[in-house]
Amino acid sequence: MAEAAIELVGINKSFGTVRANRDINLVIERGTILGIVGENGAGKSTLMSILYGFYQADSGEIKVGGKPVAIKTPNDAIALGIGMVHQHFMLVENFTVIENIILGAEHEPLLKKSIAKARSELERLEREYGLEVDPDAVVEELPVGLQQRVEILKALYRGAEILILDEPTGVLTPPEADHLFRILRQLKEQGKTIVLITHKLREIMAITDTVSVMRQGTVVATRETAQTTVEELAELMVGRRVLLRVEKGEARPGAVKLSVRNLTVRDSRGVTMVSDVSFDVRGGEIVGIAGVAGNGQSELIEAISGIRRAVSGNVLLDGKAIDVIGHADPGELRDRGLAHVPEDRHHVGLVLAFEENENSMLGYHDKPQYLQGPFLKIDAVRDDAKRKIEKFDIRPPDCRLRTANFSGGNQQKIVLARELEQDPGVLIVGQPTRGVDVGAIEFIHKQLIAMRDRGKAVLLISVELDEIRSLSDRILVMFDGRVVGERGPDASEGELGLLMAGVENREAAE
């Protein structure tokens, strides 16, 4: 057994009465990759924040290299050789790579000297770990994968021996993720210790040496990666058996319900996000749009659902035009049977400060069933919410509870219940399972399949390629605002990954 780089002994942390970490013991061996998996709210991030000095543990001990240490601030952590790569990058977008790297580590009063020093150090790091990136490039102009590399370089520049990566592949294309894994392996070979926090079990299997599973604030199991399976890990995470494969029958596509022709959409800065996109969605099929976040999927569904104005193009709903350029109104589209589960349920799909029952009618609040003249029929609203809570098994079953106090999965169920209960002909779903626990994912997927089987048209947008592949009957891939390819549900991950990276045929990638 190798030497322990970090040892956590009996770590406890509570927020109010919520015990985010309970009596956690964990040994991270030097020169290995440890994966930490768990559902949202299992306490992974809290634990890593304690290690990185954002929070203080209520009790327990942290040992680095065998010696007990006190980590009170991220600076303490850095001094001990612990570096962190956050899920949301902490980069100054309009600085160059090198400026970002020395930020907070400028040793000279004059920037020029620091930069010169950093440059030679950076060259060494790049040579050693194969982390090529142009030091003079402006960060905002770099692709996400390279920005992440800058984050890693930042940590290494500060002398990190132990790297913590929080959900590092969430924003990457599959090829970018593969490249990241190669870098991580290289770092490991050089003797660095890596902690990988993720909810993607496949990644755990691909790269880690050891994996610890967290549930409800405790480490429920630690396994040698080679001796476990995805199924076992999923079961450990949820505490019961889960169905990872979505079971669905053959699609029976009917008439075209939603037809998009030559749609072009610009964002608020005037940048073209969707250019000349055309496709159809038929009743009884799920069309998935795959793509790395930020390639126009969001703008596409916003334009179709009337939230954002398009520049040009036509959209037909049941053969009748939607005025996507001029006055499309989400309320009117709802009346015409177009339901929309938005990507951002926290700010768009729900009002978190509302009681559950108030969100349960958002967007449908002018339906006569809720109203008596200008007044709300509070009892009718609450009864309706209670019915949906029961039908969709929303927990806790309390329609007066503030929406913010529901878990991510249950919040998503509130949105789904609201939209599906209107029995729409067309359903547009954005990121249906983002930030949703494994148990609820299964439920949500079943609901979407059931919609399809009832002959409804479902347009699905997700950055989770697995989700797209397991739910869709047809897959469109978006890259840089265009649909770059259409594939069947049996398309391989590699093939889709290349399309998502903008490579339209295999030869060009080699």
Partner: protein, 380 residues
């Protein structure tokens, strides 16, 4: 549960925390009194006694409170839509014109109970119109409502000065005000109501019928905000404009309608001094009530049930403060402005200062009361 703050029971949220904030602001104010060289406890006794110690004192306190209920409600309604209406002062001032014109036209012809509803309409209409322009600019042009309403306060002040030294001033009069209104525009006093409780009230004490109107409006605001479709749309807009757009709520319409309601409420404040007390429209009759309304709304958590007591509290500070300035020459009326400032600081700006501490206390007594289930119920 992603919020670090667990929920407190409503009574603690709306009662205990404001009370603690208030206590702290009074304690700090006491230190200021001490610095001036007076005994803070004695000062507190004079202040409370001046406000509540006699029937007349109470009548004055409630008279001031009436102003603050109207302006507090005005600010609160706008808050619910995410708008910060700082223009209550100007809206009330211009509404004085609405009230004044109605009264000047009808006070010789109609009895007060017919003039009153017309004057209410006049006040609401004038106040709403004065809020309409900033609202339109915000909704259509994105001009920030805070800036435009402040500017409109100045425009209102200048316009009213012009009118009160010119067209509205009776020929030959020296004072910048309208002629005295006669009986047909004088609201009944409510001193008798206090006398029913065995208190003695000087007949000149200004408490009048508009106090009851203020209470009715408080109830109406509650109904609008929490029991109508419009209120639902206002609150959706206030919490998240993205969610409002998603729900098919027109941003333009809601901003304008909300500001019309807000302006109308601020405008009704003008009824109280004009028809209830001084029986004329005079220069600067609003005297800061529009701004106090902001503090009242903050302190009352934008809820009518909080705004009414908060308004009475500020009424107490006004009335008791006048007594205090009289009894303790070292303390000027500005002292009241300091106390007000402290109340705003602790109740508004530092609202959450004591919250984590209160929550910790609650959590240690009973976890359930702060809405934490013993075990977290997750997914299906």
């Amino acid at each position: 549960m992603s919020t670090p703050y667990a929920k407190l029971p409503a009574w603690a949220d709306y009662g205990l925390i404001p009370f603690i904030n208030l206590l702290v602001s009074f304690a700090v104010a006491g230190l200021v009194v001490l610095l001036v060289g007076e005994n803070p406890f004695h000062a507190a006794v004079i202040l409370v006694d001046g406000a509540f110690g006699s029937g007349t004192g109470i009548a004055y306190t409630l008279y001031y409170a009436t102003n603050f209920i109207f302006t507090g409600l005005a600010v609160a309604v706008a808050f619910h839509c995410g708008l910060f209406n700082i223009g209550g002062e100007g809206q009330a001032y211009i509404a004085g014109l609405g009230v004044g014109l109605v009264c000047l036209a009808f006070d010789h012809i109609l009895p007060w109970w017919l003039t009153f509803p017309l004057a209410i309409l006049g006040a609401a209409l004038a106040g709403a119109l004065w809020a309409l322009i900033p609202a339109y600019l915000q909704a259509k042009r994105g001009s920030h409502i805070v800036i435009t309403t402040i500017m409109f306060n100045f425009i209102a002040a200048s316009a009213m000065v012009y009118l009160l030294v010119g067209p509205l001033k009776p020929r030959g009069a020296m004072a910048p005000q309208t002629r005295q209104l006669v009986e047909g525009a004088q609201l009944p006093k409510l001193g008798w109501l206090l006398q029913e409780f065995g208190l003695t009230v000087r007949p000149s004490a200004p408490l009048n019928l508009s106090f009851l109107l203020a209470l009715v409006m408080a109830f109406v605001v509650w109904v609008i905000v929490w029991r109508t479709k419009l209120g639902y749309e206002i609150r959706t807009m206030g919490f998240s404009s993205k969610a409002a757009r998603y729900a098919g709520i027109s941003e333009t319409r809601i901003i304008i309608v909300t500001m019309l309601i807000s302006g109308a409420l601020a405008g009704m404040m003008a009824l109280n001094p004009i028809m209830g007390d001084q029986h004329n429209v005079s220069l600067d009759f609003v005297s800061g009530a529009g701004f106090v309304g902001i503090a009242v709304a903050l302190m009352g958590r934008s809820h009518p049930a909080g705004i009414v007591p908060a308004a009475i509290l500020f009424g107490m500070l006004y009335q008791g403060g006048a007594e205090l300035a009289f009894e303790m020459p070292n303390i000027s009326r500005d002292m009241i402005v300091i106390i007000q400032g402290l109340v705003i600081l602790f109740a508004g700006a530092l609202e959450h200062m004591f919250r984590p501490w209160v929550q910790a206390v609650f959590a240690s007594f009973s976890p359930r009361s702060v809405g934490i289930a013993p075990s977290k119920a997750e997914g299906a």
